[in-house]
């Protein structure tokens, strides 16, 4: 498994412009694919507009202790981009001022940001009732002694934990996330369970994320959740709350995987043929703002990685945050958006249609 990021390898695909060029190049697929905007136009959803500004998602930096094959962030140990405390303070002010219902912390591994704990505590002070989600990669908890108490910290601050576990078997998980990741993930899940996470009636929510380890779409979320629960309980004594089935987006390292393995054209066709208008209606960018490590504002984390800033010119950075402009903006779409509208849809919270 390749342990270097595209950025480190100075690969063309590390650049957002080249990725967008590939996604819009019909020669790569051998035929002209319907443009996502055309699909939205046909169902009267174009231009796509926000419905609300509920979720404030913060990408705290691209540094990560893992180098997963499908990562749309191209995160890894060599990435130095990280949110500063000043930028976090501006985020805290906005979270307090606008009382977002959910603050979603992601990365990289958000816990690798040295100000992670300070940030969480400040958010709690200014918005005591909001749901704070941390997208924890699990292995960080056992990566170093200083992270072993993270589950207790999460509990103290009422954080909801969302963690990737691509499958309930070691072979498929390690193929995607690296050797030994499954074993470390099981250890971390046991620690989370011991603190009360994922235990019935504890009030401490532990959700897992499935994403396909290859060029195929996720199955029905409910059926898979049942299997995960049975397998993890029987083999490892682990429990959790919900499973989110997420579609891999043709962005960054996953786009690279598709191109390298000759699966790109068939994957895009598959996404397009599975386009679901109901999923398009419920896409997460309609109630989410995504904040980059440097304070720029995006419609979602995928647009962030493609450097597609929000269309609202007077509110592209948190220092210029303008609630009205953001509510009225047109959401920027491109060919990667098919990943969120295939089948039952996909979002950071899993399927978007029941």
């Amino acid at each position: 498994m390749d342990l270097k990021t595209l950025h480190k390898k100075q690969d063309q695909l590390a650049g957002s412009e080249y990725q967008l060029k590939v996604l819009n190049d019909d020669e790569k697929t051998g035929k002209k694919l319907a443009r996502f905007s055309e699909k939205l136009t046909a169902i009267l959803l174009f231009p796509l507009k926000p419905l609300a500004l509920d979720i404030f998602q913060v990408n705290m930096g691209k540094m990560c202790n893992q180098v997963c094959q499908h990562c749309h962030v191209d995160a890894g140990p060599d990435r130095k981009e990280i949110m500063t405390r000043d930028t976090m303070q501006t985020c805290v002010d906005l979270i307090g001022q606008h009382q977002f219902t959910t603050v979603d912390l992601t990365g990289g591994a958000p816990e690798l940001n040295p100000n992670f704990r300070w940030f969480v505590e400040e958010i709690r002070k200014v918005n005591p009732s909001c749901k704070i989600i941390v997208r924890c990669n699990l292995t960080i908890i056992v990566a170093n002694k200083k992270y072993n108490d993270l589950p207790v910290f999460y509990k103290t601050n009422g954080i909801e934990v969302v963690s990737s576990l691509p499958f309930y078997s070691a072979s498929r998980t390690d193929k995607q996330r690296g050797d030994g990741v499954f074993e470390d993930s099981m250890k971390a899940l046991s620690i989370l369970n011991a603190v009360g996470y994922g235990i019935e009636n504890s009030g401490l929510i532990l959700n897992l994320v499935y994403n396909p380890a290859g060029a195929f779409l996720p199955p029905d979320q409910t059926a898979l959740e049942k299997e995960y629960k049975t397998e993890l309980k029987n083999k490892y004594g682990i429990t959790f709350n919900n499973l989110f089935a997420i579609t891999n987006m043709p962005v960054s390292r996953y786009l690279n995987y598709l191109l390298q393995t000759g699966n790109y054209a068939s994957y895009m066709e598959k996404l397009i043929s599975a386009f679901n208008p109901a999923a398009a209606n419920n896409v997460m960018c309609r109630n989410t703002l995504s904040i980059g490590w440097d304070g720029y504002i995006y419609d979602c984390d995928f647009n962030q990685m493609l450097d597609l800033k929000v269309e609202a010119k007077d509110s592209q950075h948190i220092n210029d945050f303008n609630n009205d402009s953001l509510k009225k903006r047109n959401i920027i779409v491109n060919q990667h958006c098919y990943g969120c509208t295939a089948g039952a849809g996909s979002s950071c919270g899993g399927e978007v249609v029941g």
Binding site: F167, S171, R172, P212, G214, F216, P219, A223, E227
Partner: protein, 110 residues
């Protein structure tokens, strides 16, 4: 290169309705119903389909149900075991006729 089997044709399965729509509609409705969750899960049905696809040696079906079983979360061991079931039945079907052969041989032998 000309070939009897073209992977692209799998995507055109629905076009059989061009020549005979009422029967195609009935077939695809039936097909859709068969594969829904029922007394068997959609996953179990997909594994059966994969095994049958190998037994009838249909490359289109093998393509389709290799993807479908994987999407439904089947492991590599499970899909291979399903094919062994097909192989065992095919092998068994050959061998069990050995009894018929033995009957005949005994019938005509001293």
């Amino acid at each position: 290169m000309k070939t009897y089997y073209n992977p692209e044709d799998l995507k055109k399965f629905g076009t059989i309705a061009e020549f005979q729509k009422p029967l195609a509609d009935k077939f695809f409705d039936y097909y859709g119903e068969v594969f829904k969750e029922g007394a068997l899960t959609a996953r179990e049905k997909s594994l059966i389909a994969l095994a049958v696809a190998h037994a009838v040696q249909c490359p289109y079906c093998i393509d389709a149900y290799s993807v479908d079983t994987t999407e439904k979360g089947c492991t590599e061991a499970q899909v291979m075991e399903a094919i062994h079931v097909a192989a065992a039945i095919r092998g068994g079907a050959t061998l069990v006729h050995g009894v018929q052969m033995m009957n005949k041989v005994k019938e005509i032998s001293m």
